[in-house]
């Protein structure tokens, strides 16, 4: 039996070594004094916050940086009003258009399709259904309605105001309206020169 004992020791040793690696736990740290932040970190859990949660919604009635007060309500009347009177404050420059295209590829194209015809990849895979084309006659979207829907969401589409800034939403509106024109076989609008800085920052 004695000649096996060394083998058993080796096995035990390797077992102990490998059992230290538990991939669901982080590794040891050596003197982690400066590893751990003293300040409150993003997404942290601290007792001074409501529900112990650092990630909170902005205080009601406060306006985030870069945004303007948006007075159109999240209702059918608000939608109609925004559709009728809200206009894009950004000029139709090439830069704004390109930025809008970039945002469109990230946030919209997966459902609305590259051309805005409502045939995105998720629709083709029948994961999400009922995505209308931008030239849908019943809806007859305008700059105001596009912004309003991105801001508040409509039906099963959610709000995108948490993922993009105010400026990006308006740049995206330019791009969406261009896609609508192209779907309706219209010419794309001429780009204008940027007069000073855009109104909205």
């Amino acid at each position: 039996m004695k000649r096996y004992s060394s083998l058993i020791y080796v096995l035990m040793f390797s077992f102990i070594l490998t059992s230290c690696f538990d991939k669901s736990k982080p590794n040891f740290q050596y003197f982690p004094d400066m590893y751990e932040p003293i300040s409150y970190e993003t997404y942290g859990e601290y007792s001074i916050f409501q529900d112990g949660q650092q990630a909170l919604e902005p205080v009601a009635e406060s306006i985030s940086r870069g945004w303007l007060p948006y007075d159109y309500e999240d209702s059918a009347e608000g939608y109609d009003l925004a559709k009728a009177e809200l206009k894009n404050p950004l000029p139709y420059t090439e830069e704004n258009y390109n930025k809008g295209e970039e945002m469109y590829a990230i946030y919209c194209a997966t459902c609305h399709g590259d051309k805005g015809n409502g045939k995105g990849y998720l629709v083709e895979r029948e994961k999400i259904l009922g995505v209308p084309s931008y030239d849908d006659v019943g809806r007859a979207i305008t700059e105001g309605s596009v912004y309003h829907v991105m801001y508040h969401g409509i039906n099963t589409m959610g709000s995108y105001a948490s993922q993009m800034s105010n400026e990006e939403l308006w740049q995206l509106t330019h791009y969406v309206m261009t896609l609508k024109d192209l779907l309706e076989d219209k010419e794309q609008k001429e780009f204008v020169e940027d007069v000073e800085n855009p109104v909205v920052r």
Binding site: F21, K23, S24, K25, P26, N27, F28, Q29, Y30, P32, M34, Y35, E36, P37, I38, T42, Y43, E45, D51, Q53, A55, A76, A105, I106, Y107, T110, G118, Y121, L122, V123, R125, E126, K127, I128, L129, G130, V131, P132, S133, D136, V137, G138, R139, N155, T156, M157, G158, S159, Y160, S162, Q163, M164, S165
Partner: protein, 440 residues
């Protein structure tokens, strides 16, 4: 000392293949039995349900589901509740019908909080009939009953539990073999003894090998040095891993599969991690971003379920999301009772190192996968890179800075390329190795 992530064994692969064939074979049988074509709907006998499905999916499905209430009511059975003429008028322009004072129209308008259905003037009467024919098709029987039992059994056979069973059987067989060998050995020895056969020659008593070894001082010295060197090498490698979490794969409160979202459905990384574009953190998406899609997707498709994780498992994970957001799929509204999801952070730099996502993602245009690895193939997210300082520095030395289309840096690029006499500047040459860039 490198950690190797778990790879399924060959045995598991074999079982997987086996179970796939098994289930496929069953499916084929069932399909053969179900070949009977679409039913003709009494209310709209000449309509084409296939064309109706296309129209329904593109125009109606945003708010209606055939068999379940969504934003609007479930449409199955609508031809029994209303007459066809009414449906046609309502679909083409519901507002007109409400304003005309039609009692049914006003009632449904009131029931859905005065949220009018948009007009669809592009639909002809025939189109509406096609749609009705589609939604009036009887609800497809869930193929679960028989298949699920089998799948469940196969899954149990192909998944974790059965591997153990098979290993157990193997172990038992080996044990039996061992016992048999010992018995045979014993019997043979007895035979040998009985026949006076000498089994082992009596060895001369020689010096044990370790005594000989201990007497040779040179050999002892060399082997001690070798052992010490090996220990030092191993110990150094082990200690260098302290504080490095490469391969860290914690269990998350909701089993979120990057493979399904970013891989199979090709959703942009930045769709959810939108703050990576413009802030230090890449950001865990708040749950409203999940609900952008999952308002409509309450369960995964049949094909999404696999041997390792079943459809029921995934559906349950979506239910966890609904619990956290307080979304009630039956009434299609939020109850207001929310609770936080405590995701476990994986990538975590020490506090003394500064890293900015926006700088790398937006300005540098570096792919997420460069640092985070093949995320689109990860069923469970793990840390791909070591995130050590050496790893950062190495990339800064090798990566060229994108100089074109960046007027902000134009001048410094020009000056620096003149200074170093190169066309392309690496991040290191831009000052990417200076201590104060990351530690301050």
């Amino acid at each position: 000392m490198k950690k190797v992530l778990f790879r399924p064994s060959k045995l598991k692969n074999f079982l997987l293949l086996f179970s796939i064939f098994f289930v496929l074979g069953l499916n084929a049988q069932e399909e053969a039995a179900e070949e009977s074509g679409p039913k003709v709907i009494e209310a709209v006998p000449d309509a084409d349900p296939a064309k109706g499905k296309e129209l329904f999916n593109s125009l109606c499905a945003a708010c209606h589901k055939p068999y379940k209430k969504a934003v609007g009511p479930a449409l199955h059975g609508v031809s029994e509740r209303r007459d066809l003429d009414w449906i046609q008028r309502w679909t083409v322009n519901s507002r007109e019908l409400i304003d005309s004072g039609d009692s049914q129209a006003v009632a449904i308008y009131e029931e859905y909080n005065k949220q009018a259905m948009p007009a669809f003037p592009q639909l002809s009467k025939e189109d509406v009939n096609d749609i009705v024919a589609y939604v009036e098709q009887p609800k497809p029987e869930p193929k679960t009953s028989k298949k699920d039992d089998v799948e469940g059994a196969v899954a149990a056979g192909g998944g974790g539990a059965s591997t153990e069973v098979i290993l157990g059987i193997l172990a038992f067989v080996f044990l039996m073999l061992l016992v048999v060998l010992v018995l045979v050995n014993k019997t043979l020895r007895r035979f040998a003894e009985a026949n006076n056969v000498e089994l082992y020659k009596k060895k001369e008593k020689s010096k044990p090998i370790w005594v000989a070894f201990a007497e040779n001082q040179f050999l002892v010295l060399v082997s001690v040095v070798v052992v010490l060197l090996m220990l030092a090498y191993g110990g150094y490698g082990y200690l260098m891993l302290v504080g490095v979490d490469q391969g860290y794969e914690p269990v998350q409160p909701i089993h979120y599969s990057h493979k399904i979202h970013a891989g199979e459905n090709e959703i942009e990384c930045k769709y959810c991690h939108s703050s990576a574009r413009k802030s230090k953190h890449s950001g865990i998406p708040s749950l409203n971003v999940c609900m952008n899609c999952h308002k409509q997707i309450a369960e995964v498709s049949e094909e999404t379920g696999n041997e390792e994780y079943s459809k029921e498992f995934y559906d349950n994970e979506i239910q966890k999301l609904y619990d956290a957001t307080g979304w009630d799929p039956d009434s299609q509204s939020y109850t207001g009772e929310t609770k936080p999801v405590k995701w476990v952070r994986i990538h975590n730099l020490p506090d003394f190192a500064y890293f900015n996502h926006a700088q790398h993602v937006t300005v540098g245009q570096i792919e997420c996968q460069t640092c985070h690895g093949p995320v689109e193939e990860m069923e469970v997210m793990y840390q791909h890179s070591s995130l050590t300082m050496g790893w950062c520095i190495n990339c800064h030395r090798e990566t060229n800075v994108r100089m074109d289309d960046n007027p902000y840096y134009e001048k410094i690029h020009e000056e620096l390329s003149k200074k170093y006499g190169v066309d392309q500047l690496t991040a290191a040459e831009m000052g990417g190795l200076e201590c104060g860039k990351c530690h301050y």
